[in-house]
């Protein structure tokens, strides 16, 4: 992934998801169409859980969790996961197959294992064989960033010794048509911070991380240093014009990390490429960090992964630290002159010690994380 980010490759293609007829680009994971979830979990089979499983099988992650299970015991590993739309696409499909006489949903429709927001949590818990405490956070596009806060608090409070965080959000008609109805979908691949930006490209994606107590962290281990959470108290789907909630979240994340703005080497922005998000986030970032701190959005590469944006961009931030990479902005041609932060069009190779990453969602739900590295 870090090579793709360095080279500013984009996974966005003209949207051909299912029966959607919307003139936009999307980030689709084609492998999901033919994938089935593990045999013992077939009740949970839906696009979102397929995506979660595909991700759990990458990079030896499931094996690392198994090793942690041996170390801590299955009951001492919690799971704090996020999703915005869960297995909603299963319900969309079921609504096309209603009984013409009674209106009933088809008999094979499984609500708890697909539609319910917790479906992802129970699927991942079972897939990994965990019996510790956990739940699903569903606060729209901040969900999987906030899950880091849940996990850190639970570990600190002694409720668990380790935790799996992350989650998945898969394409569905509701988000494609819904964002389109708000006039927020881009006609081409999205162009964060561009003067001509015209909206988001919806993507699907997943990511997971295993978090353990920091007291035994070895040199080079990635540290979660700070978490900031706030609410806009402004509007359900439009960010605060001055970025007030965003500013509170970033400041809290810095304060809880015990860091000054100048300590942050790179900011991974929420940067959705809507007119309003990028303008208000820029104001908030400029207010705290001024014109120097390099920042960029990676949504031109991935699209907006909605509930999975927090975890995937936390992973981008980890790659930034591990590879000394500040990724440039895929698809952005020229930065909007009205935006004042130090936005990176091109990737930079520089040592990165501290990263701040932003995730903001509908309902004015904001979360910022500060990540660093153990010396």
């Amino acid at each position: 992934m870090h090579r793709a980010l360095r080279e500013k490759r984009s996974g966005l293609t003209p949207c051909d998801f299912e029966t959607a007829r919307i003139d936009t680009y999307a980030g689709k994971v084609p492998a999901l169409d033919d994938l089935r979830v593990r045999r013992d979990l077939l009740d949970y089979d839906c696009r979102n859980n397929r995506l979660a499983q595909l991700c759990l099988e990458q990079d030896g992650f499931a094996g690392q969790v198994a090793a942690a299970r041996d170390r801590h015991g299955a009951g001492r590993i919690g799971f704090y996961l996020g999703t915005s739309t869960s297995g909603l696409h299963a319900t969309e499909l079921a609504y096309r197959r209603r009984d013409p006489k009674t209106g009933a949903l088809p008999a094979d429709y499984r609500y708890a294992e697909t539609q319910n927001a917790y479906s992802l949590g129970e699927f991942v818990r079972r897939y990994l064989g965990l019996t510790g405490p956990g739940f699903v956070v569903s606060s729209a596009c901040s969900s999987t960033a906030k899950a880091f806060g849940n996990a850190a608090r639970m570990i600190t409070a002694g409720i668990c010794d380790a935790a799996v965080v992350g989650g998945a959000d898969s394409l569905c008609l509701m988000t494609l048509y819904g964002f389109h109805s708000l006039g927020l979908t881009s006609r081409g691949p999205c162009r964060p911070f561009d003067a001509d930006r015209d909206g988001i490209s919806i993507g699907e994606g997943a990511g997971f991380a295993l978090i353990e107590k920091a007291d035994r962290a070895e040199s080079g281990a990635i540290l979660l240093l700070g978490v900031g959470e706030s609410s806009d108290a402004y509007h359900m789907s439009t960010p605060h014009p001055e970025g007030l909630g965003a500013r509170i979240a970033m400041q809290q994340a810095l304060d809880s990390a015990g860091l000054q703005p100048a300590d942050i080497d790179y900011i991974n922005l929420h940067g959705t490429a809507t007119k309003t998000n990028d303008a208000s986030e820029d104001k908030a970032v400029f207010e705290i960090f001024g014109p120097e701190t390099p920042c960029s959005s990676t949504k031109g590469a991935t699209g907006h992964l909605l509930g999975a944006a927090g975890i995937t961009e936390a992973i981008v931030s980890i790659l930034a630290i591990e590879h000394g990479l500040m990724p440039g902005s895929a698809n952005t041609r020229s930065v909007d002159p009205a935006l004042k932060s130090n936005y990176l069009l091109d990737s930079r190779n520089e040592e990165v010690t501290h990263v701040l990453t932003n995730s903001f969602g509908f309902g004015g739900s904001n979360c910022s994380l500060v990540l660093g590295v153990a010396q």
């Binding site: 209603r98 008609l173 509701m174 819904g178 739900s365």
Partner: protein, 263 residues
């Protein structure tokens, strides 16, 4: 983990507000199930009030009552929302529209469809810019919210409100996930005792399996089992009775015990 209970809000069938319902839960008056009466919160501007879906109204109503009873400023307090069902009516309308050939979806319905719609409207209504989260753990959603809210109080040494709510789905979703009634419960929890503290909650995970607390009244027990948010009932009963006791709650593969100690 120990927290102090400063205010409670409650709405359920025949449980019309905490002040009225506590007499029922204390056994001083009989439980007479009736439709849950949900009044739109006057905290919201009129335009927003009209647009809020029923689950949001329910969450705001119990949250507002808990803060009134606590005598605390909601604008300065973090919140944990928890719901198994989320926004069922909105989900139904969206799925109907998406199954039609026109696929015309309403932008307002779309932003109202998120699981954190109640949290979003709560922020707008109370002007609270504090942290707010929205959780789900299916039938264990109430317990999940309680653990998270208590952990926040202990971690941040700040008051936190827990707002649990579930609203039955319209058909055809109702048949796939039947919920018995509208039910909401809210608790304002603080790290230290205050002038309004009524009890403390002490949380402990239990080794081995213990049976969760049941309601002695069969109709209340049916309600407890019929709505995930109503898993709060044994805790509410312990508060209403103002006697020391232990409440065992199910949580996924585990159980936990809340020691309720009146102050």
């Amino acid at each position: 983990m120990r927290v102090f209970v400063e205010g409670v809000g409650l709405l359920g069938p025949g449980l019309q507000g905490w002040e009225a319902a506590r007499r029922v839960l204390a056994g001083e008056e009989p439980f007479r199930p009736a439709s849950t009466l949900i009044v739109a919160s006057d905290l919201l501007p009129a335009a927003e009030r009209r647009r809020t879906p029923v689950p949001v109204k329910l969450a705001l109503a119990v949250g507002q009552e808990a803060f009134q009873n606590a005598g605390r400023d909601a604008a300065a307090t973090a919140t944990v929302f928890t719901s198994s069902s989320g926004e069922g009516e909105t989900l139904h309308h969206m799925c109907e529209a998406l199954a039609s050939t026109e696929r015309e979806v309403s932008p307002t319905r779309f932003h109202n469809s998120v699981h954190n719609a109640a949290a979003g409207y709560w922020g707008i209504a109370t002007r609270s810019r504090e942290a707010s989260t929205s959780l789900c753990a299916y039938d264990a959603s109430f317990t999940a919210g309680l653990i998270e809210a208590m952990t926040q109080v202990v971690s941040w040494r700040k008051p936190v409100a827990l707002i649990a709510y579930d609203q039955p789905y319209p058909e055809p979703l109702h048949s796939a996930r039947p919920l018995l009634a509208s039910f909401g419960a809210a608790f304002v929890l603080t790290p230290e005792a205050t002038g309004r503290t009524s009890a403390t909650f002490e949380l402990e995970f239990l080794p081995g399996e213990e049976k969760p607390a049941r309601m002695s009244d069969s109709a209340l027990e049916e309600l407890r089992l019929g709505v995930p948010a109503a898993r709060a009932l044994p805790l509410l009963e312990a508060l209403a009775r103002e006697t020391q006791g232990n409440v065992v709650l199910d949580f996924l593969t585990e159980t936990l015990r809340i020691a309720v100690i009146p102050c």
